[in-house]
């Protein structure tokens, strides 16, 4: 420790530095205030902290590379997840038709609200941050999050969902500022990226719990998540959560944007069947609002149990319908179910962490989890899901339908403790 050879200012500065290092008030034997090491200059890596070099959990590419090298899908490593928050760096990324992530200067970014309103409004980011804000924890999930027999891991099968704390202005508040006209029924939300992603959203949803979010997990929304501004439409299919949001137009009808033209249409195969659920207009929003879903993240595909004894079966549950009411777990392929414990805070339309004690006796097991939400909607098995759609499971696996595949993904454990996809 160096003697204090400087004046009061220096003393104060060092005192602050010491306090910052949480060792303030340490005194040397001579009774003088200890002097800190020379002020540390933080390198870039220290200034924005890095994880241990021994932690290598990473996103992987979903499906195939897009021919124009555009961002399509990056999948969250759910097998490594703990708790309910996905680190922003590991949040899944999805783009319906692919795009280059725009590099937006927030000082130049604007949000316009117009259409069927009394007062069209144009906001800067600084304007938006002066409004009352709220922070809420919500999951996002791409409707392409469809477990298939070919998937080896939970990341491949279910990695198109993540959960963050989002901070922003309630959309309803901004719409009230603009004064929505009677007769308005929809909004069209649009981004500023290359193809200016646009979606039609029911006004009733816009006035309910949508957020104009500028914060994600305690910092600005990441570029791949829409920096500096994104729409959050909790419980709706991921595509509705428009990134790089620059415009909201209040309108009186569905706009049938390019992201929507393959929805709301009975495909010809189903059109031949007059009883098809697609023929019932009350079902038309069914691929939009997501149902109850859960997945066991550990033990999961590709992992191995290291011998008999105690394990925690743990996973995530969520629902577009609201809060998770309960999660049940089966170790015998769905013959018997037990209530799992909820091991996290329970937020509406958010990942919820569940776990159950399990004593593995080196016998074969089939692990399943089943979510029930606050609306008493229950996650189906694959057989129940296929029966509802009046299709074979083979058809479910080979057809690209825009609906939310929320059936249970089982994991098979063999006598050696190898865990494999139970759909295969």
């Amino acid at each position: 420790m160096k003697p204090n050879a400087h004046g009061r200012r220096q003393f104060l500065r060092e005192g602050v530095a010491l306090a910052g290092l949480a060792v303030g008030g340490v005194r040397s034997a001579s009774g003088q205030v200890a002097k800190a090491a020379p002020e540390m200059q933080l390198g870039d890596l220290d200034a924005y902290g890095q994880r241990s070099k021994f932690v290598t959990s990473a996103r992987i590419l979903g499906g195939h590379m897009e021919p124009f090298d555009l961002t399509m899908h990056l999948l969250t490593p759910l097998q490594d997840s703990v708790g309910i928050i996905t680190p922003s760096s590991l949040h899944y990324v999805a783009a319906h038709k692919g795009f280059y992530v725009p590099d937006i200067n927030p000082e130049q970014h604007r949000l316009m609200i117009h259409g069927m309103v009394d007062r069209p409004l144009l906001f800067s980011m600084a304007d938006l941050k002066r409004f009352p804000f709220v922070s809420r924890i919500h999951y996002l999930e791409c409707n392409g999050n469809k477990p298939r027999p070919r998937h080896k891991t939970v990341q491949e099968a279910m990695g198109r969902t993540s959960c963050s704390e989002w901070t922003g202005v309630p959309l309803s508040l901004l719409l009230k500022e603009a004064g929505v006209h009677n007769g308005a029924k929809w909004i069209v939300a649009e981004g500023v990226e290359e193809n200016k992603g646009a979606m039609s959203i029911p006004l009733a949803k816009a006035m309910d719990d949508c957020l104009i979010a500028y914060g994600q997990n305690g910092e600005p929304v990441r570029p791949q998540q829409g920096f500096p501004l994104r729409l959050l439409v909790p419980g709706f299919e991921g595509l509705y959560n428009v990134k790089w949001l620059r415009r909201i137009k209040v309108v009186d009808e569905l706009y049938m944007t390019y992201n929507e033209f393959e929805r709301y249409t009975a495909d010809n195969m189903e059109a031949m069947d007059p009883t098809s659920v697609y023929r019932n207009k009350n079902y038309s929003l069914l691929e939009v609002e997501q149902g109850p879903k859960s997945v066991i993240t550990c033990p999961s595909g590709g992992q191995q149990l290291s011998g008999r004894g105690h394990y925690e079966i743990t996973g995530l549950a969520w629902s577009g319908g609201g809060a998770v009411q309960k999660v049940e777990v089966s170790t015998d392929g769905g013959q018997n179910w037990k209530l799992a414990e909820i091991r996290s805070a329970v937020h509406r339309k958010a990942h919820t962490r569940f776990a159950m004690d399990w004593n593995w006796n080196e016998e074969e097991a089939v692990l399943m989890s089943r979510c029930t939400d606050e609306l008493h909607q229950v996650q189906p098995t694959l057989a129940e899901f296929a029966k509802f759609w009046n299709q074979t499971t083979e058809y479910i696996f080979t057809h690209r339908r825009p609906i939310h595949d929320n059936f249970i993904l089982p994991w098979k454990v063999d006598r050696n403790g190898n865990v494999r996809n139970g759909l295969a």
Partner: protein, 200 residues
């Protein structure tokens, strides 16, 4: 605070006052933040086209002009000769039998012609989005509609004619009754039956 008189009409008066206040605050701006965009600023960003084509700008185009632009603007490089598809999606083809096994063609699958105009205008060509003039977008839209057998080669597409084009999949569209959808209700169908009570 005084006590309420047990006057039968008193609650009605209160209700009426509250209703007026609520309606008033819902319509008047409270925070007065942001600015009013100019007409030009709105027009420049107002690019989502409704099925009736309310936002379509003035201009005209035909398939003949569109055929030239399809080559000049290098659409052909990614979408292939005659829109048969290459690196980028197919633009000409029949209404697919099953959209979930075969990639659909926007011109034959979308119930509204405005969707084509909208997408070409907002997103094409790759890395040059926003550079096409309205008459060029009308011409390219007309070209794709003509190549798919939906309009005649000489038909002029503009803000009046385009929304009136009868698309082959128009009747495949299930009209959405959005007024029946409310947040916080169960979905109007039940995939899984109610399970038996679990054992503790």
């Amino acid at each position: 605070m005084g006590t309420f008189a047990m006057d039968w009409h008193r609650p009605l008066v209160l209700v009426a006052v509250l209703t007026v206040c609520t309606a008033g605050s819902a319509q008047a701006p409270h925070y007065n933040l942001g600015k009013t965009p100019t007409e030009e600023e709105i027009r420049a960003w107002d690019i989502s086209i409704s099925p009736e084509g309310k936002e379509l700008p003035p201009g005209n185009g035909t398939a003949t002009e569109g055929a030239k632009l399809y080559v000049q603007k290098a659409c052909v490089a990614c979408h292939g000769p005659d829109g048969r598809g290459a690196l980028a999606p197919r633009l000409v083809g029949p209404l697919v039998e099953n959209v979930y096994t075969t990639e659909e063609v926007m011109a034959t699958y979308s119930p509204f012609a405005t969707t084509l105009w909208d997408y070409i205008n907002r997103a094409m060509p790759l890395k040059g989005a926003g550079t096409l003039k309205p008459e060029e977008v009308y011409a390219l839209t007309a070209f794709l509609l003509y190549k798919n057998g939906i309009i005649q080669e000489g038909d002029v597409m503009n803000a009046q004619t385009l929304p009136k084009v009868k698309m082959p999949n128009r009747d495949g569209f299930v009209p959405l009754d959005v007024s029946s959808w409310k947040p916080g209700r169960p979905r109007p169908f039940k995939i899984a039956p109610d399970p038996a009570s679990p054992k503790k």
